[in-house]
């Protein structure tokens, strides 16, 4: 039975689900169903709830998120380069160096902006 490795991944995930899901269902079935405004209040250190929960936002970290999307792509491309690094002519390594150097200024700009709280 030569199963492809990805089928094994799928089977493993199925095993995880069929062992974990019953726990959740069990907890759901066993718990009381009555609703009670005090019990159902979100946790706020024992205080009554103050206002909407989805209000405040840490917008000053938005540049980090954009940097993440950019560097995610870059890292994946660098892995293809790392795979063949040892057998690659040096001239083609410079190419990836150029690829990185192009990115230095934008990422520096993003870091600079993320440090300035008043911009966000």
């Amino acid at each position: 039975m030569a199963l492809d490795s990805w089928s094994l991944v799928a089977i493993f995930e199925i095993v995880v689900v069929i062992t974990t899901f019953p726990l959740l269902v069990f907890g759901w079935v066993m718990s009381a169903k009555g609703r009670n405004p005090i019990r159902d209040a979100p946790f706020e250190s024992g205080q009554t709830r103050l206002g909407e929960a989805r209000l405040r936002y840490m917008m000053q970290y938005y540049p980090y998120l954009i940097m993440f999307v950019a560097l995610d792509v870059v890292a994946m491309f660098l892995f293809t380069w790392g795979l063949v690094f040892a057998s690659l002519p040096v001239a083609q390594d410079y190419l990836f160096l150029v690829f990185l150097i192009v990115l230095v200024v934008p990422l520096g700009y993003a870091l600079y902006l993320s440090g300035r709280r008043e911009s966000w």
Partner: protein, 341 residues
């Protein structure tokens, strides 16, 4: 008309499947039971070690040295009531808890616990592990949003930014290993360390990877998403009962898997003197790494969130790139053959 297959046949088939190597690998040893028991043991280990660090005794009564404490905790949590806040999205929370467990356990498929003792020996193993780990922020953000509580939401956002900030250094710190071995297959990477563990030539990468793993695991000194004194339990605040149990177990599964990943990538995996079989060496190293991570929790203070993010995006990133550069130098100077597979 063939008639219904006899019960004997079904039993035989079931016995054949259950005793087949693939099934045993998936369900018992490198697979699910290993992860489950490992994670449960780690919860006990953490309580015991932290207690020792703080000159307490820790769990004591359930079994020898309280080693059955995880089972007691599990049963207790299972029978607790599941309370979801009034505006929370209970179904989303449960599905996300399940998803957390799936993602946390997924990397085990590719990690070799012995020579050939791996569920799926895939060529893209390393990237597969990283891809699985990169799904965490999404689910945690969804949990933080879905529970509609301020603590959960702030914890989820912090977790998002932190994991996102440390993911890139984590990936790039491993790039050196990929350059040295020229493969993404974790079994081959471990085989390449027969002569010298990667922790020596890749010491910079190891430091970056370890710090990034600490941050990915949301552990002290980077445990801002669930800083107990400010955010109660972070994004897990509104998970209760069984959902909390699954989420909690997922985090310890992640700890176990990441320790195993550090072992496989930097500490030589299963290699060791042949007094003990290979999987035992692997498990010993894994639990050693996990213990170090736990002791760090007992010994360090917490950093501030903006410092944390800035450190991740500047120092660690630069260190990771420096590591890549050093490795490139190593290969250009002609030492690369040493670790080729």
């Amino acid at each position: 008309m063939q008639g219904l297959p006899a019960i004997q046949d079904i039993v035989n088939l079931a016995a054949k499947i259950i005793t087949s190597r693939t099934f045993l690998e998936i369900v018992v040893f490198p697979g699910f039971l290993n992860v489950f028991v490992g994670a449960a043991l780690l919860t006990w280990l953490e309580r015991k070690v932290i207690a020792r660090v703080q000159l307490r005794i820790g769990p004591l009564y359930a079994g020898m040295w309280g080693i059955l404490q995880p089972i007691a905790d599990g049963i207790k949590l299972l029978f607790k009531e599941m309370i979801f806040p009034e505006l929370a999205d209970a179904k989303l929370l449960m599905v996300c808890a399940l998803g957390l467990m799936m993602i946390a356990a997924a990397p085990v498929v590719a990690i070799p616990f012995g020579d050939g003792l791996v569920i799926a020996n895939m060529d893209v193993g390393l990237i597969y592990v990283f891809a699985a780990i990169s799904l965490f922020p999404t689910l945690i953000l969804l949990i933080g949003w879905g529970s509609n509580s301020k603590y959960s939401f702030i914890g989820g956002l912090r977790s998002l930014f932190q994991q996102v900030a440390y993911e890139i250094p984590m990936w790039l710190s491993v790039l050196g290993i990929v350059m040295l071995t020229g493969t993404l297959n974790l079994t081959d990477i471990v085989r390449a360390q027969e002569k010298l563990w990667f922790v020596v030539p890749q010491i910079l990468g190891f430091v970056v990877f370890f710090a990034a793993v600490l941050a990915e695991l949301e552990r002290i000194p980077f445990d801002l998403p669930e800083a107990e004194s400010e955010l109660v339990m972070g994004w897990m605040t509104e998970l209760t009962g069984a959902a909390f149990m699954v989420g909690f177990l997922a985090m310890y599964t992640k700890l176990y898997v990441m320790s195993a990943l550090i072992t496989a990538l930097f500490l030589g995996g299963w290699s060791g003197p042949s007094i003990l079989p290979q999987p035992v060496w692997f498990l010993l190293k894994t639990f050693l790494v996990a213990t170090v991570i736990v002791i760090i929790r007992g010994a360090f203070p917490r950093v501030r969130v903006d410092i944390l993010l800035r450190t991740g995006w500047t120092r660690l990133l630069i260190l990771a790139f420096a590591n890549v550069f050093v490795t490139a130098m190593l290969i250009w100077l002609g030492f690369g053959w040493f670790w080729r597979v």
